[in-house]
């Protein structure tokens, strides 16, 4: 990679590379900013300690923090103990320093002997090499014990990597995700969203209707035209809380901060998409996963009813999934996908409870012309939003897809990722709200040349969708349980690691 060799490294690079080369790579090359409570605790302790910066005692000066940089080492930073920079800056030999251990409140003297100096210089050379290579150092360079409590585990996925490379048994639980998906859904025309201290204030008709701590929100969805203050938007940016603007049940625009610094990964994504053979392999797997999940969904709904038409559809879907795996190009994949879709939706229609006033013959859209199609369209929009969310979290570009093409400015990679979750997540919500009477025919109103959900129904549907997204399922490869939102993020990161060549081949999510 074309990095500037003369570039200064932060002094923390030495410690980071020694601690974990992958940690250094993610921070220095990908620009990772994830923190966790260990790091925060350390930062706050530093802050408290540094409040009194300098103190004079019997003529000697004690300084708690000094900023230094070194020309010859090309290092810069704020120092507590590092001696090498201090020597260059003062042209005097520094014989020793102290390390203070916060946890045990102990101070220990450290002598700057030859071997320590050597270690530091070697670490520095290693750091520069990683930076120039521009790709994650192998996992084998990391002692496993260091991954516990690492803020970057969500990005690095050490246990999953070790499992895929055959070094370790399948992980028992997923790396904890920091995206809890707690959503503030605002669907009131003319409402205002403002910030007051660390909270979001929602007003309608000049009255405050809700006062929510920012710490209780992981995502904001605006359903109808509202006014948003710039202070509120800045706060969301600072905290990395994405905001989605929906219009007529579709994703119009979004603001998703802090996650797009990962240029090496996006370079890999562009290279991967350009390679016809590599992108075809993943596209096949995506379509196969989609069709298998359609089959599983029909099978589940038909378990007791045993409708012949569905039984035969299930069988044929199986065959189409197998054919997708062998498809020669994306064009024939699209053909198989279309065939499967028609079969699947004819089965889906049979699963809708009769007499609910929901006649559904086949899929139509733009705009949907009947209630079930309107619900499906809305469910897919919500799913698109969450796919965009996890794709950007994973550092990928949502617009560059490998199966869907990027025409009309569609978030093609989000549509790719979404395929394997359509039936199990979105269609499942639709079937549920119709068959349980959560949404009724009276919840719809006609629009220009179609039909749409009224305000109340939209809110109830959103609630049902959120319930589904929090339900758990087993990951087909790693074998652990996680909720659907987390599973989608794991799949997005999976895709990223395949694109970067870290993990062998992509496996779609398949419901059991």
């Amino acid at each position: 990679m074309d990095t500037d060799n003369r570039e200064y490294l932060p002094v923390s690079a030495v410690a980071e590379v020694l601690f974990c080369p992958r940690n250094f790579y993610y921070r220095a090359v990908e620009g990772a900013e994830e923190t966790n409570h260990h790091m925060l605790e350390g930062r706050f302790q530093d802050e408290r300690r540094n409040e009194r910066r300098t103190r004079s005692d019997d003529g000697r000066v004690q300084t708690r923090q000094v900023f230094f940089s070194s020309e010859s080492l090309r290092l810069r930073g704020v120092l507590d103990v590092q001696g090498l920079l201090l020597e260059e800056a003062t042209s005097r030999e520094v014989g020793y320093g102290y390390v203070y251990y916060v946890a045990s409140a102990e101070r220990r003297q450290v002598f700057f002997d030859e071997s320590l100096r050597e270690t530091a210089l070697q670490a520095l050379a290693a750091a520069r090499a990683i930076r120039e290579a521009g790709e994650p150092p192998p996992l084998s360079s990391v002692p496993e014990v260091k991954c516990k409590g690492c803020a970057l585990a969500e990005r690095c996925m050490p246990e999953e990597s070790a499992f895929l490379t055959g070094a370790q048994a399948a992980p028992r639980r997923p790396t904890p995700g920091s995206n809890l998906g707690r959503t503030l859904y605002l669907d009131i025309p003319g409402a205002a969203l403002r910030k007051r201290q660390g909270r979001l204030i929602i007003e309608a008709d000049g009255q405050m209707i809700k006062d929510v701590p920012l710490s209780a929100v992981d995502q904001v969805v605006i359903g109808q035209a509202a006014s948003l203050s710039s202070a509120a938007l800045s706060a969301l940016s600072d905290l990395g809380i994405p905001l989605y603007l929906m219009e007529h049940g579709r994703v119009r625009s979004w603001l998703q901060p802090n996650w797009n610094k990962n240029v090496p990964l996006r370079r890999a994504q562009f290279r991967f998409v350009e390679s016809e053979s590599q992108s075809l392999a993943v596209a096949r797997e995506i379509v196969r996963g989609k069709i298998l999940n359609q089959r599983t969904f029909l099978q589940r709904g038909n378990r007791e009813r045993k409708i012949d038409r569905i039984l035969s559809a299930v069988e044929r879907l199986e065959g189409l999934a197998a054919a997708a795996k062998e498809a020669e190009n994306k064009e024939s994949l699209r053909g198989l996908e279309g065939l499967a879709g028609r079969l699947y939706f004819s089965g889906f229609a049979k699963l809708l409870r009769p007499g609910e006033g929901f006649d559904f013959a086949s899929r139509n859209r733009r705009p949907p012309r009947d209630p079930v199609n309107a619900l499906l369209s809305y469910a897919y929009s919500l799913l698109t939003k969450d796919c965009i969310n996890v794709i950007i979290r994973a550092g990928l570009d949502p617009y560059l897809g490998l199966y869907h093409c990027e025409r009309n400015g569609r978030p093609a990679l989000a549509l790719d990722l979404m395929e394997e979750f359509r039936a199990i997540v979105a269609d499942s919500v639709v079937l549920n709200v119709v068959n349980r009477g959560i949404i009724k025919e009276s919840d719809f109103e006609p629009v220009f040349d179609g039909i749409q959900l009224k305000d109340g129904g939209r809110k109830r549907f959103f609630g049902a969708y959120q319930t589904r997204i929090r339900e758990e399922a087993v990951h087909p490869v790693f074998g652990y349980r996680a909720n659907y939102l987390r599973l989608m993020e794991i799949q997005a990161r999976y895709l990223g690691k395949v694109m970067q060549g870290e993990w062998p081949q992509y496996d779609a999510f398949r419901a059991r």
């Binding site: 859904y185 909270r199 920012l214």
Partner: protein
């Protein structure tokens, strides 16, 4: 995600107001001098840090009672209802 009941006893009015406002940024005011907060470990660390900066350690007191999963469901609430924030979605 951890669930805490936070109570405070602050000797000075001005400081009490600051503590109140700090807690309001993280949870639900359920009773006079009592908050319930549902927080990630990171937010908990940040809240504790902010409170430590605001209180006088020899005069004031703030107590975090952590609620385990089982205890959470074992709470009985009589009278006025309060809606806790931090647990799930807010649909408006």
């Amino acid at each position: 995600m951890e669930h805490y009941v936070v109570t405070y006893d602050i000797a000075d009015d001005k400081r009490r107001m600051k503590v109140f406002k700090t807690l309001k940024d993280y949870g639900t005011h359920v009773q006079e001098s009592v908050f319930e907060v549902v927080l990630t470990t990171e937010d908990y660390v940040a809240l504790r840090h902010k409170l430590l900066r605001r209180i006088h350690r020899d005069e004031d007191s703030v107590i975090f009672y952590r609620q385990c999963r089982a205890c959470e469901n074992d709470v009985e609430r009589l009278g006025r209802k309060v809606e806790l924030v931090g647990i799930g979605d807010i649909v408006l």
